[in-house]
Symmetry: C2
Subunit: 326 residues, 2 copies
């Protein structure tokens, strides 16, 4: 799936089936999940985090993750991602055929103990074990392995997390053999200046190849502003959740990912290619609404696109000269 | 009031008592408006658009604007702004003692006809008459006169409005004697790329002094991203409305200004000085809620500030070295 960025400027990575569903108490039937993922792919979504390989008793909402990964793998041109809390989860994710596996390392050790029940050192041991698992596979079977720096912008339990600490944890993840680190604003604490500063520092320490994406929550309404800050810096992958479904159940007060529909409208209206058909995307909400009673959010779904809006253009309201000049 | 920017980086101009109240059908009692404005000023808000000098039969919600302006003038260190639709309104605003008067010129002539019932040429005649009124005043009695380019980023009736047209209208306003133009995304159509492009073009044509502020709606959830884009360019005044109350009743589908509480949190967490006390600001909501039944919005009021957050600092999560380096 190395051609995942072909023809697009920004990869919108949908995390609703994982982050969205894990944060609500309703359990979406497996058939509805398959319909949802299929419809997302048909709307042009190229990467979906379809589930998490955690024990079913902890997150019964995601108990069918192996089946969902196997199913999603049959959809052409879709990069199938899954979250794993440890090496055992990674083994299951690899067996199911995930293209990409993400292990969250909470920059706040207090949160790490609550979320994964592990110290930083214990998480690093899992990372090393996962790298060993992956290296044992034939080269063409190896999933992309991301170490996600969660609570990177602060923690509801510890408060502020120093940037230097996040960078150090990222260095360790890369040294252990992760393909990439990710930044996650698990608690919705981030601001645009902090996003820029963090990206700059991580790039300085680890190189640009080591960080391409960010996972943002909209808890304080700053979600799209933070996304813009990340885009301006040059990140190319943005996580979001259809209808803003989601949040982290282990970080009190944390709520909803940024809304995929609003994000896609922002990117498209800026003239950035996402490969996503917004009209089709808006219709995908019906599948979720029919399957679970939980509320869906978003402004663009209510307001619609501007009058005369043409999708996939060179940017709403941008003068033609910009095409030549920029 | 030339020292309005003293000690701050960004002027948050509260438009709730005008844009907020004009968009709801409830009529807030005059006493509650006075309490609201007083509390806003006590929270550190330095500029408030307190009303609009339109005929009371059109907007009964704002029928007491003259009394409100006179009252607001008694509050120290507060710049009192008022909207005027024409020279007659400007006369009343000046008589009441407004420090700043704003006349909206809708870039969409269709919207202008609906909103002010005037063609562009007819609005320009009013602008000229207002400039004459102001010039007849002693120098120390002259209000600041802004020509606001409304529907500058598109119109729910006309659709896209070419940037070049907005620039030309701005040139005409300045040539007629406005002190400044303003940009208003009346319909919530703007995107960050368009905001940047528009500011660049207006500055190129009119000079930087001619544009310092922007009025953004959050109709499609892009409000704070657009605010960030404007900030990055160097605009220093951002309009917003407490609780996101507001919108333009003559632009169908348009809704809510950006939320003052979320905007202030964003600016403060970025280390930008606003002079506003966020804790006090959040309490001001109670006055509005007690006076009118209409819903108030905002994420920060629900989520609260991050754990351990200290207001007025050097930016949440920004490393100390930034102080020296940037």
């Amino acid at each position: 799936m190395s051609d995942i960025m072909h023809g697009i400027d920004v990869l919108v990575s949908e995390v609703g089936p994982r982050d969205g569903l894990q944060s609500i108490s309703s359990i979406m039937p497996t058939a509805a999940k398959k319909d949802w993922i299929t419809a997302l792919a048909q709307a042009g979504i190229r990467e979906i985090e379809v589930g998490s390989f955690v024990p079913p008793k902890l997150l019964p909402q995601l108990a069918d993750t192996a089946e969902i990964v196997q199913f999603a793998r049959t959809i052409p041109h879709l990069q199938v991602a899954a979250l794993v809390p440890n090496a055992r989860g990674a083994e299951n994710a690899i067996a199911a055929g995930a293209h990409k596996i993400t292990l969250p390392l909470s920059a706040s050790e207090t949160h790490s103990l609550k979320n994964l029940r592990k110290t930083h050192e214990q998480v690093f041991e899992e990372v090393a074990a996962i790298v060993a698992l992956i290296k044992a596979l034939p080269a063409d079977k190896r999933p992309h392995f991301e170490g996600s720096l969660s609570t990177a912008f602060g923690c509801t339990l510890e408060g502020m997390v120093p940037e230097a600490k996040v960078v150090k944890l990222g260095e360790r993840l890369m040294a252990l053999g992760c393909d990439e680190v990710g930044l996650a604003d698990t608690t919705g604490y981030a601001n645009p200046a902090q996003v820029r500063s963090m990206i700059k520092s991580i790039w300085a320490a680890l190189g640009k190849h080591a960080l391409t994406g960010i996972h943002i929550h909209n808890t304080r309404g700053l979600g799209l502003a933070n996304a813009l800050a990340a885009l301006d810096m040059g990140l190319t992958t943005l996580d979001s959740s259809l209808g803003g479904l989601g949040g982290c159940p282990f970080a009190p007060g944390a709520s909803g990912n940024i809304v995929t529909e609003d994000l896609v409208f922002m990117l498209d209206s800026m003239g950035l290619k996402t490969g996503i058909d917004l009209a089709k995307l808006l219709k995908v909400r019906d599948i979720v609404t029919a399957a679970v009673p939980d509320p869906m959010y978003g402004f663009t779904p209510d307001a619609g696109v501007p009058k005369g809006y043409v999708q996939g253009g060179h940017g709403w309201g941008l003068p033609e000269r910009k095409l030549a000049a920029e």
